[in-house]
């Protein structure tokens, strides 16, 4: 009898435009515009503009509209999580991935073979995102951004504690926060709130817009203010999400020597963390670290693992040394765009 995972290769193809499902005639996270796209989440390297019909969670669609306006897609189809639907004989079902608000894994089932395209995901508790769900399958398609045993994200509470200590050391210095406007930014705000910081937090353009959308979608971020509309405010000691030059150009009167803060899983390794020249590099990531990656593979327990962007080699080696089939899936356009880890 044929392995179910082997069979998957016959109907799920890697093409120039991305992962293509033959019987369903649709793409998952296509790299360029297609007729029908299923989108895991709204980050720029997964959700591109110009598709004709787009199937995604309602949050993902909201972010795509915010970013691309009319170019988000001609037909936007919100998908309810956990509710299967059929496309050309393929059963499709979306499950939460825990990466950012609205991020999903997509289960594709065809002739008894189950494939999960997990997109980007994480396992840590995140107040701004629905928790990852383990979906049993034959083939698990996983990212491996931090697919090396070096990468182990410390508890987020400890990282936030560092930030609070730096603040206590320099109560007058503004915290200049650098964080990707979808996901990382809101997660940091939520973690700051959880740690007891309830003062207004200032946000620049796109970070403010995305955070407002989060609030509209029911995620409480507390008192956030648009930096543009706060010209007269004294930002001494405040927490501000904005590029350094914007902050210095517009608030140079009250902001002196801001503390630059960055948050990324890459900061775990020192050589890399110095590149951004930030004063406070926090090891906080929206992706799984190595222990979570390997734990997830064990829990999902697929016959075969297909590894996309990141350190595929170590992940594949790890699977194979545990008698699990694994291979690299080189998808185009999946590296480094927009997201920071």
């Amino acid at each position: 009898m044929q392995r179910a995972s082997h069979q998957a290769e016959s109907w799920l193809k890697v093409t120039r435009k991305g992962l293509y499902c033959v019987p369903g005639d649709f793409y998952v996270d296509p790299a360029s515009a297609v007729d029908r796209a299923l989108i895991t989440h709204a980050h720029g390297d997964h959700a591109r503009p110009g598709n004709r019909s787009v199937l995604a969670s309602k949050e993902t669609l909201a972010f795509m509209q915010l970013r691309y306006g009319k170019r988000a897609g001609q037909k936007l189809v919100p998908i309810e999580l956990g509710k299967p639907l059929s496309i050309g004989g393929v059963t499709v079902c979306f499950y939460p991935a825990g990466h950012v608000l609205g991020s999903c894994q997509i289960l594709l089932e065809y002739e008894g073979c189950r494939v999960v395209a997990s997109g980007d995901y994480k396992r840590r508790i995140d107040p701004t995102s629905q928790a990852f769900e383990v979906v049993p399958c034959h083939v698990f398609i996983t990212e491996a951004t931090f697919g090396l045993p070096l990468f182990e994200h410390p508890p987020v509470e400890g990282e936030i504690e560092k930030l609070k200590q730096v603040r206590e050391t320099f109560p007058e210095r503004t915290l200049q926060m650098n964080a990707y406007s979808l996901g990382k930014c809101q997660r940091l705000i939520a973690e700051l709130r959880r740690s007891g910081i309830d003062e207004p937090i200032y946000l620049n353009g796109s970070q403010f817009q995305h955070s407002e959308t989060y609030q509209e979608l029911g995620v409480d971020l507390g008192h956030i203010r648009s930096l543009e509309e706060s010209r007269g405010d004294n930002l001494k000691g405040a927490i501000v999400f904005a590029p350094l030059n914007v902050l210095l150009e517009q608030f140079g009167e009250t902001v002196r020597d801001p503390i630059t803060v960055t948050a990324s899983g890459w900061h775990r390794v020192r050589g890399k963390s110095f590149m951004g020249a930030s004063e406070l590099p926090l090891v906080i990531s929206d992706h799984v670290d190595w222990p979570e990656l390997t734990k997830t593979i064990e829990e999902v327990n697929p016959e075969e693992v297909w590894v996309t962007h990141g350190s595929e080699e170590a992940t594949i080696h790890w699977c194979q040394s545990r008698q699990r089939r694994a291979k690299a899936l080189s998808l185009v356009g999946r590296e480094g765009e927009g997201e920071e880890g």
């Binding site: 090396l148 045993p149 200590q165 050391t169 210095l248 020192r270 020249a277 004063e279 170590a314 790890w318």
Partner: protein, 518 residues
């Protein structure tokens, strides 16, 4: 150890000296006892940690980790000690005190050291493991210059900086007597029979027009020697050589220190002088940077100590005496030693004389102007020495390389270039000097970003960049440097301004600079 990682990370990443001092003051406030003392010692690189080889730990890590996963991780991180630190499985994480860790490592016998270290690593978080292994494998490194640490101590304790400077060199980690004194539990540590550093007088630089109300009755005049102002302190059996800011540079200058057959504190300027010729300040920097020094360097870069004042001679404090009295005592006491010279005073009557002297000094190697001291000035706080320096040359140079100092995130060391020979396809740009970029923090940040964005090649901490950033600089003279492509090097190079746009005038040529060689 958490407090120590927080301190060292802060010191490594802080953009300004003020912020670095803030991290240290926070640490002083939050820790106590030997933890605090050892932490301070590590920050200023005064603690001798036992050393290990990272490779030795690799074996014991590989007992527990797939070798292929190790190699892939090492390939990614690049650094062996960091790779081991991050991969080290720590089954029993708990907070260890700084002093406990240091003392366990210090008393361990050589053959037990690795086991003791492994036990400690087993209890530490990744960032602590990385820090500890770096301290034990990478050689000593200062996270904060001693002078900044001392002034942070002064501002934290409200004790006068000069008093802290005085006792500093007599203390050893974990500085129990220092903290007992700073916190008011005991009186100032006894320094009898110890080589102490006593703050030098402050100096003022006269503007280029020079002095207007000077008279030979009031002011003594001497040559201002280009070089490093130092203090040689000798008491009991101890002799130490300090820089102007109290940094202990004894180990770099045995040729000077070994001649100290007296008790007291004498001051002057160090230069590198060979066959009577003062060599470029760059060579002096090489001497200062090499501690302990090498025999080869002693021969190729011989130092000369030009003595010009004293705070103490043969156990007699001179601070209460006027310069006239000190000079008399100094001349009476001084006898020529190898590599020592008494800096002479110059006769003068009118301001015109001074003007001529200064003019003359522009043609003298190793002299950058005149120094003026009040005949009646005592060696006490608030007395000032005046410098009337030659106007420096100014020009514009283009950036060739940016370099980070060890432990710094800033590209602060810049190599600048001038136009070489015209050739087909345009002139080449040749390096003519290296400069520490001392500009405002925001501008430094912009320089960093520019270098990141315009990097052509990386060589470790050095980046070569595309041409496109110019610096208005000043320099005191042009020196021959036969080993360099340009054949010259600009001395005492300083950045005056960063030019973000291409200047209108053509870049200065090596030929033009060569014409300034004296």
């Amino acid at each position: 150890m958490k407090g120590l990682t927080f301190l060292l990370d802060g010191l490594s990443n802080a953009p300004t000296d003020e912020a670095k001092q803030g991290y240290l003051k926070n640490f002083l406030k939050k820790t106590s006892g030997a933890d605090r003392g050892y932490g301070l010692a590590i920050a200023v690189s005064e603690l001798n940690m036992p050393t290990v080889k990272a490779a030795a730990l690799k074996g014991s890590l590989l007992d527990r980790l797939d070798p292929k996963l190790f190699e892939l991780s090492h390939g990614f991180a690049g650094d062996l000690s960091e790779t081991i630190a991050l991969l080290w499985p720590a089954p029993a994480i708990k907070e260890l005190r700084i002093a406990e860790v240091i003392e366990r490592l210090k008393i361990a016998k050589k053959q037990d050291l690795q086991t003791v270290l492994e036990d400690i690593l087993n209890c530490q978080e990744a960032s602590e493991r990385r820090m500890l292994l770096k301290l034990m494998t990478a050689g000593k490194k200062a996270f904060l210059p001693g002078s900044l640490a001392k002034s942070a101590l002064a501002s934290w304790s409200k004790v006068d900086l000069t008093e802290i400077e005085e006792v500093w060199a007599t203390l050893t980690p974990p500085y129990k007597e220092l903290f007992d004194w700073l916190e008011g539990r005991v009186s100032k540590p006894n320094t009898i029979g110890r080589a102490i550093f006593k703050s030098p007088l402050s100096t003022i630089r006269l503007d280029e027009q020079g002095p207007n109300s000077l008279s030979p009755e009031v002011h003594a005049v001497g040559w201002s020697w280009e070089g490093l102002r130092v203090q040689l302190s000798s008491f009991g059996d101890e002799v130490k050589l300090f820089s102007e800011i109290g940094e202990d540079i004894t180990a770099a200058f045995p040729d000077i220190v070994d001649q100290a057959d007296f008790h007291g504190i004498v001051e002057g300027v160090l230069q590198v002088v060979k066959d009577g010729v003062v060599l470029p300040s760059e060579m002096l920097q090489q001497r200062v940077g090499r501690r302990p020094t090498t025999k080869k360097l002693l021969e190729s870069h011989p130092a000369l100590f030009r003595v010009d004042d004293a705070q103490n001679l043969e156990d007699r404090a001179l601070n209460g005496l006027t310069f006239r009295q000190r000079r008399e005592a100094l001349e009476k006491w001084f006898r020529p030693r190898t590599n020592w010279d008494l800096s002479s005073l110059i006769d003068w009557r009118t301001i015109d004389d001074l003007d001529k002297l200064r003019e003359e000094s522009t043609t003298m190697k190793g002299v950058d102007g005149l120094i003026l001291k009040r005949w009646e000035g005592k060696y006490i706080k608030d007395e000032e020495w005046l410098f009337w320096l030659n106007p420096p040359f100014t020009t514009t140079l283009v950036l060739l390389y940016g370099e980070k100092r060890p432990g710094s995130s800033q590209f602060s060391e810049l190599t600048l270039g001038a136009r070489g020979e015209e050739a087909e396809g345009g002139a080449s740009i040749l390096p003519v000097g290296k400069v520490s970029c001392r500009v405002e923090a925001d501008e430094q940040k912009a320089v960093n970003q520019w270098i990141e964005a315009n990097t052509v090649e990386r060589f470790g901490p050095v980046r070569s960049v595309a041409q496109g950033l110019w610096f208005e600089v000043s320099f005191s003279s042009v020196q021959k440097a036969s080993r360099r492509k340009a054949g010259l090097v600009l001395d005492n190079l300083e950045v005056r301004r960063v030019l973000w746009e291409e200047p209108n005038e053509v870049l200065v040529s090596v030929k033009e600079l060569t014409s300034l060689l004296n």
